[in-house]
Subunit: 681 residues, 2 copies
């Protein structure tokens, strides 16, 4: 219900804000001191060395080359220069598919915007109902462009109806093409990958306890019996959470030891000291190097003991195992079939790639999982249910005029004004336009600035970084945060589809968002983010499903809106749309989703045959032997040459086609025990 | 809104009706002339011979033994005498599981009824709100026992809430136990079955056309490549619909020939004649036996030509095939996995048993199927949507008082009286009580009378039956009509669950229905019905799901009802119930449904190993060779000794553990070509 001037003020503030962020970014990124914040990906892939080495004096930290300040917007064409296949090579398929969501937004909304602006706006403007309405209902010039402006019961609504059909058909057409495309890209990506351990491996859960048998024996017996021709071996999984805690402690002490040794090397005249008590703040003062050496050796004993305990105690073996097969075909069969008469036992699924295993969550049993799901669904329901109350209140305040009127006496709001849906939905459009400018324009501009990582990097540099290794760790490239980004992206699809027919003037705002966000994220993916693992675009069915859901919501809202507009004779025509949409969704699901969930036997057999022909003497058993070994087994053997291993990790991280690798990726696991090796075919 | 007297009249009429049906049944069933109508199952299993042979004169047709008339209700204990395992032996698992639905109804509703009558009725009676209501709203004594009688905003509603929880928990507990039980019965039934061709067979659909290859070649190549160790062979499927039509024509002519030959044998002095024209009513008069012989030989030529055409024309081969494997394990793997990169091609699923194949529907392609589903779902939606209008009208007339008032001037109804949901749902209870008495009491009693089959059998006997074979065919045992019976059964669960909290006096009516219907259907299953094929209880997940849906509807209606009763503070407590119910449903689905949909590899391997040990020299290829051969290939070879084959069919029909069998079960396929053979291990 904001007036056009309010909207203008809001647009001015947000556009100025966005430009301020962009200029700040342009200045900050060319400072050598910030190089690791704005180009971490190139450090990781090895394509960039510290620019500090090149400069001298102040030039090490500040860019003194004035010419580079004038070309400060050149990141935009730069972001477009890399081709899609290069991006897949550089950052993985997930990133490339993520960028396609923005392109999808543009593909859907550019034609819709053109059509809506050319046809619907003239239809709405010449309607002129708002002038006859009760003066109490506030409206602005924007609303005159929306469906609210059309007289109730007018024949003009058939034009809106026709548009709803056209927009639905167009959206479905583009969604279908895109699903097809992504499914093809995924199959192509998977097919072009080299041999990977997870192609031969299945994870089996809920292995039943049989009295007199260990879990390992049960697994061995079961798969020998039920997959006699293809079963190769299995890898037990140990509950090593306590062990991991000890290792973390040791790592912290090791860092302090390194720091003190460095200090002593620089100032050999004075041996560093520390206090025995809490955080080194109180207690007896002792020699730091000896103290930390002692503590570490104590911890080493504890770790060795714990390690033995895990290996000997049958209770430390979880009811989970990684089962390997002698062919992709055997693994595909095992992953897709039901093994046991009791469908809650011996659950098999494809093993994730080793980097993607979250060891601590593996032992959660089936019952516990379903109870957790229940609790979460109740919590989500309660959240949505009780969230509506504050949201309804906040929405009533969410514009300047509302606030002015409400501030002195809250009563008029509560006595919550009889505005019909038919008028209020379109009028909320101005609220969402402001929202898009704040979140979608200024917000995205702040994303490229990376303010938080910038500040944290410099803080760490000042206070925590003791060694070069610490500086490596302080460089936080981050990654596309799918669980956070996808829902907010989906909101834009929802807004666009809902308002396409109702208030088309909102659409250009969304177009600007999609185009701008596409540029920014393309730049970030090329220069900053470092994806931790690769799902080969497995999230696409989710994206597709949510856009379909947005389409359904849009159709139902239009239905409600038209019925309040006394256009009830259009109801049967509109009710067909959701049915067609649901059917389209089901069709797409059966047509494309298996490509994201299952591994067809045809493909598995093809690769098996090809491999047998090209490498008849391949020792698959040796290749698979240690692939899914729990990190605990490596920690001791590798303890001596840590420094080297970190180097290996950074170097090998370049390749995004996952190679046989074992590592812990959970943030709680110490990166010191990360360990890589490769088999060259 | 019917008064107590109306209900009494209705109850009297229906109980008298039900008793009249039962007495009529008791008299009719002991007449020898009706023996084949009331005991067809025993004729089919060979446990009964025609009683006409035993009697003499009139005694052949009418029962003259007066004593048997006095024991006319002895079918009731008789129906209970057979044990469940004997019923499984006698009529198959489907029938036994079907009977369990009635027992399930009793198990759920007996404790609910006791609790509701003891606790809710006193609570409702002492509420006393209806006396204060507007006099325009009609109510009866029944309504005083319902929730309508409780004052709005009363604290008593927490008792109803507690009951809703108790009833839901009890229903879920019984449902869980029953699902467990049926799943166990199914697995036990399947495990105890002998070797069956469908255990080794998978049906593959949407075989793609490859240029230069026939469908058969494609199938052969694909499965040789992708299942090299277990593929045995395949059976192409032919489009023989035109052929079947010719065969039906021939069968009709053959019947006329038999009839005329019989006539000639009885009256050798006069050769029977017929007319050449339409239905033998006009045209030139000719010798009947010669005429039909000529026509048959003409048709034989056509049939032979059509048969050759089918065998030679590659277009007659459909994109479907039955693929057989050398082990149950191989078939289980193929049925459960995705074969092709394109998930709409090479769709595999378990083959049904040969008797269960509906040959004419096999060639429908994937796209056509999904479009048909779309059309059906639109039709169903339109039906429900537009059905509400007449239903709303009819419901307003659906009681005597309403009719009286409405008949003279329709206006008061349309001006459709402001009764709140909170009063109107409970008041509809009397309508449903009457419904239960009509459909559930008198309707079930008429089921046991078998009036329609009785009349049709005697009509056929008088006009159509020419030979003994025709008399066999006129005996129509029928079978449990699941598509019709299940929905009406589910309505009783819905009514019981909805009214358990709202109007508990409805519950005893439902209990009488479940108990009576159980007796009647048990009797019918033992003496009458002859199930055509055996799904081993595959319909249970459907039954379970619909009862859960009823539970959800009941909970939502109670929620709406309580909110109109100003008991809104109970809403958050009630909203938990549907969530818990949905979770319970999901849990049951993952726990039990695979037992009804998939064949676990463990089980397959077990049977394979057992068989290999007991019959090491079994020639599986020969055993499977003709199992899924299209009936077209047998029709000619078997033409000569039809009479014998019918005998074989009747004899062999006794065993309900399906044996290697090939036949057509569709009503359009001639039973003359039904053909059985058995392999004795």
């Amino acid at each position: 219900m904001a007036t056009l001037e309010d909207l203008g003020v809001s647009a001015f503030i947000n556009i100025v804000g966005a430009f301020a962020f962009l200029i700040l970014f342009a200045v900050l990124r060319i400072q050598p001191i910030n190089d690791r914040v704005y180009f971490p990906k190139w450090y990781i892939t090895g394509g960039r060395n510290s620019p500090r080495v090149r400069g001298r004096g102040v030039g090490k930290f500040v860019n003194l080359n004035l010419r580079t300040y004038f070309t400060f917007l050149n990141w935009m064409p730069g972001a477009l220069r890399m081709s899609e296949s290069e991006i897949i090579q550089h950052a993985g398929l997930d990133s490339a598919v993520y960028l396609r969501i923005y392109i999808l937004g543009l593909k859907i909304f550019v034609p819709i915007t053109v059509l809506a602006l050319l046809i619907l706006i003239p239809v709405n403007v010449s309607g002129g109902t708002l002038l006859n309405l009760n003066k109490k209902i506030m409206y602005s010039d924007i609303d005159k462009l929306s469906i609210s402006n059309v007289n109730a019961g007018s024949q003009r609504f058939f034009i809106h109806l026709l548009m709803a059909y056209l927009f639905t058909l167009w959206t479905c057409y583009i969604l279908y093409k895109e699903y097809d495309n992504v499914a093809f890209m995924r199959l192509h990506f998977l097919a072009s990958q080299n041999r990977r351990v997870d192609q031969f491996t299945v994870v089996v859960r809920n292995v039943p306890h049989v009295s007199g048998h260990s879990i390992s024996e049960s697994v061995e017996q079961f798969f020998h019996r039920n997959h006699p021709d293809h079963y190769l071996g299995h890898q037990a999984v140990y509950n090593a959470n306590k062990f991991a805690k000890l290792v973390r402690q040791k790592e912290r002490l090791q860092n302090w030891l390194d720091y003190n040794q460095l200090k002593f090397e620089r100032h050999p005249e004075k041996r560093p000291t520390t206090k025995r008590g809490f955080l080194g703040l109180c207690g007896e003062r002792v020699d730091a190097i000896n103290y930390y050496r002692e503590r570490i050796s104590e911890l080493d004993e504890k770790i060795a003991y714990e390690r033995q305990r895990i290996l000997k105690d049958p209770k430390a073996i979880m009811q989970v195992a990684f089962v390997t097969f002698d062919s992709r075909w055997g693994a595909a069969v095992c992953a897709q079939t039901q093994q046991s008469k009791n469908p809650t036992k011996w659950l098999t699924e494809w093993a994730p790639e080793p980097r993607d295993v979250y060891w601590e969550n593996l032992p959660i049993p089936f019952v516990s999982l379903s109870i957790r799901r229940l609790i979460i669904s109740i919590a989500v329901f309660a959240l949505v249910f009780f969230y509506m109350i504050p949201i309804a209140f906040v929405q009533s305040l969410a514009n300047l005029e509302g606030l002015e009127k409400v501030a002195p006496f809250l009563r008029p709001v509560i006595e919550m004004i009889p505005i019909t849906i038919g008028v209020s939905i379109p009028m909320k459009a101005t609220f969402f336009m402001t929202y898009i400018m704040v979140d979608g324009w200024a917000g995205i501009a702040s994303e490229i600035l990376r303010l938080k990582p910038l500040v944290i990097y410099h803080l760490k540099n000042m206070f925590i970084v003791k060694t070069e290794r610490d500086r490596e760790k302080a460089m936080d490239p981050g990654s596309i945060d799918l669980p956070e980004n996808l829902p907010s992206l989906q909101l834009y699809f929802l807004l666009g589809l809902v308002y396409a027919v109702v208030t088309p003037v909102l659409l250009p705002f969304i177009l600007v968002f999609f185009a701008f966000a596409f540029l920014v994220y393309r730049h970030q993916i090329i220069n900053v983010y470092n994806q931790e693992y690769e799902s080969a675009g497995a999230f696409w069915p989710h994206v597709h499903g949510r856009i379909i859901a947005s389409l359904l919501i849009a159709q139902l809202l239009l239905l409600g809106l038209l019925s309040t507009k006394k256009a009830a004779n259009s109801t049967p025509l509109l009710i067909i749309l959701p049915i067609l949409t649901i059917w389209f969704h089901k069709y797409c699901k059966s047509r494309f989703e298996p490509a994201f969930r299952k591994y067809p036997l045809e493909e598995a057999m093809e690769k098996d045959i090809l491999e047998k022909a090209s490498e008849p003497n391949l020792n698959l058993k040796a290749y698979l032997a240690d692939a899914y070994l729990h990190p605990i087994f490596h920690s001791f053997d590798d303890d001596d040459d840590e420094e080297e291993k970190i180097e290996v990790r950074v170097d090998k991280g370049r390749s995004h086609i996952p190679s046989p690798t074992r590592s812990e990726i959970s943030s709680e696991s110490p990166p010191r025990y990360v360990y890589h090796y490769e088999f060259e075919p």
